[in-house]
Symmetry: C2
Subunit: 392 residues, 2 copies
Amino acid sequence: MSLSEFKWAARVTDIAPFHVMAILEEAKRLQASGRDIIHMEVGEPDFSTAAPIIAAGQEALAKGLTQYTPAAGLPELRQAIAGHYQTAYGIDVDPKRIIVTPGASGALLLLAALLVNPGDQVMMADPTYPCNRNFMRMFEGKPQLIPVGAESDYQLSAAHIEQYWQPNTRAAMLATPSNPTGTLVNKAALKAISEAVAARKGALIVDEIYQGLTYGVDALTALSVNDDAFVINSFSKYFGMTGWRLGWLVAPECAISDLEKLAQNVFLSAPTPSQYAALAAFQPDTIAILESRRAEFAKRRDYLLPALRDLGMSVPVTPEGAFYIYAGIDHLTDDSYQWCLDLLEQEGVAATPGLDFGIEGARKTVRFAYATDLAKLEQAVERIARFIQKAA
Amino acid sequence: MSLSEFKWAARVTDIAPFHVMAILEEAKRLQASGRDIIHMEVGEPDFSTAAPIIAAGQEALAKGLTQYTPAAGLPELRQAIAGHYQTAYGIDVDPKRIIVTPGASGALLLLAALLVNPGDQVMMADPTYPCNRNFMRMFEGKPQLIPVGAESDYQLSAAHIEQYWQPNTRAAMLATPSNPTGTLVNKAALKAISEAVAARKGALIVDEIYQGLTYGVDALTALSVNDDAFVINSFSKYFGMTGWRLGWLVAPECAISDLEKLAQNVFLSAPTPSQYAALAAFQPDTIAILESRRAEFAKRRDYLLPALRDLGMSVPVTPEGAFYIYAGIDHLTDDSYQWCLDLLEQEGVAATPGLDFGIEGARKTVRFAYATDLAKLEQAVERIARFIQKAA
């Protein structure tokens, strides 16, 4: 029996593989052959999960708390997340509006299923996190990529909404802080965008996955200006729980019963041990650990940003969040993928080509993650400098 | 700002809520008011996760193993699953063909994305596990429900494939053991179905989520007759790891790179602590525990099946697997949902109306789960008998 004549669904071809995967594979190959590789390609904090969270997970296992939770998550975790919005942002969010998901991926999945009919467009910035585009395509919608630049902090603006909204545009999607650019949407812009989207009877999706990881600016949530926004969040980044696969979605009340129905179908519930562990994520002792890590990320950014600029790379807007610098290398190449491969082969520094994040300008940009300690970052900058010099 | 004029995507309306959720909610309400409720509606084993698996999870947490794994899963877990196929079924499966997923839900998600174009049909039995239908609708495909009966053990047969296959039928889906009927597809039928599907250049999906939970018959996997089948499995049922959200998919080699690409987009990776815990699932000491639980399930089935038949319920084919009995109650009602509600209100026994599993005959059937201990089952049967008598 053979499937050789079977053609996969069209979406499979339309969804491009991540270039970073080829980089990562080559990095691992080189590492296995004994080379010293500095990883600046990965979107994963180098800190392991904070001890109080681990301890809470172990305690849940000791108690045998391993059965399904309700599809929307443990009531006490939904309550704790609501408490976090109160403590950190001073806003009331009804716990019923919070759905715990298997990673932010689970939240994106629910939203694509809820909002996107075949042919519908979801407006988003180019560059953007590639899964955002792909989730829309997955559900037969279309990512409507709007090239953004320094003038709007590499973010969608109300002006973009006004200029590019089309009859089949159903929603706009922001990410603040943004992956790959690390830039934020400020409160005034959030308000203007919310109004522009509402005037067009669209939905607004705000990815706040890197919330908490901001440097020198006040933390913000879109919920403080727009109660009808769909807000995606994650325990992976600020809370350092990547492998636990846990995130959440805040949605308007009118969407909750349908989102629960979708959740029952697509994932049943988020992992139970992870949910119990996450109950410890908002404790003062955990937050103290996470804040000291944030300070460390800030130091890294403060080192890496001027260092890359000194190498002639273009970073016109200061990245104030996440742990990425999206650097223009137009003076060096118009093939960022090959450039990244060469950098890896010659100097053992792995970075992500812009190509993974968009179309416009993507061939002339590279994303550097600073999820690596300062000493390694300094070494990486030396190596990148040598690589550029050799190529010149 | 308001979303009041925003219409959710059409699929949201097409996906019906599970009736069992309303039953469950009412059961919880009654329980909270002090009533004694016997739960025969849930699809979750009443045993907690076996101690060696819990211990392996705790050990992983103690070691801080909480980062992402590769999208296809921990290499050592893929290897362990391959080893299980060798030990339990005597067949070689290349670990590269095994993708670890967040629950069987994650595997279904990957397959729907891989196989289903808008308008494509996926043939499946009526009755079937409702998420199967809904996953196809989610990706704009159509579940092609084929009413099945006792003559084919409540399963699709090669004759069904031959009779009902249409130009836009892309795949057939089996579940063995089946939820809700507990019936199996035997080796000869699997072979005939595989050939009928292959002759039509279709794909075959086999849900083996309840594999291992069979009573009095030899265990079987579709992989032993069809190397090109897409086989879905789970750590939830036989391995008792529901809340850990872990399953796997075995796929033909030609599909693996595309499935990995989809997995990177839709879930990044399965939960890491769960994957490490599952490494202990195939150890002899764990298997010994699981086998004693299987013996317990067998006892329950051996009690419940004749008891329900004695109440006049129709179960024409002996359920040899899973932990469900799908009982015809045509002599009692043609509104199984109301019947279940009344049974719950009057006697405190919760069961799932057939309506959740199909259309044909669904109003005259009920699914009873025996994921409850024998003493409770005996009590439940007494109560059901009294309920029937009162209604007569």
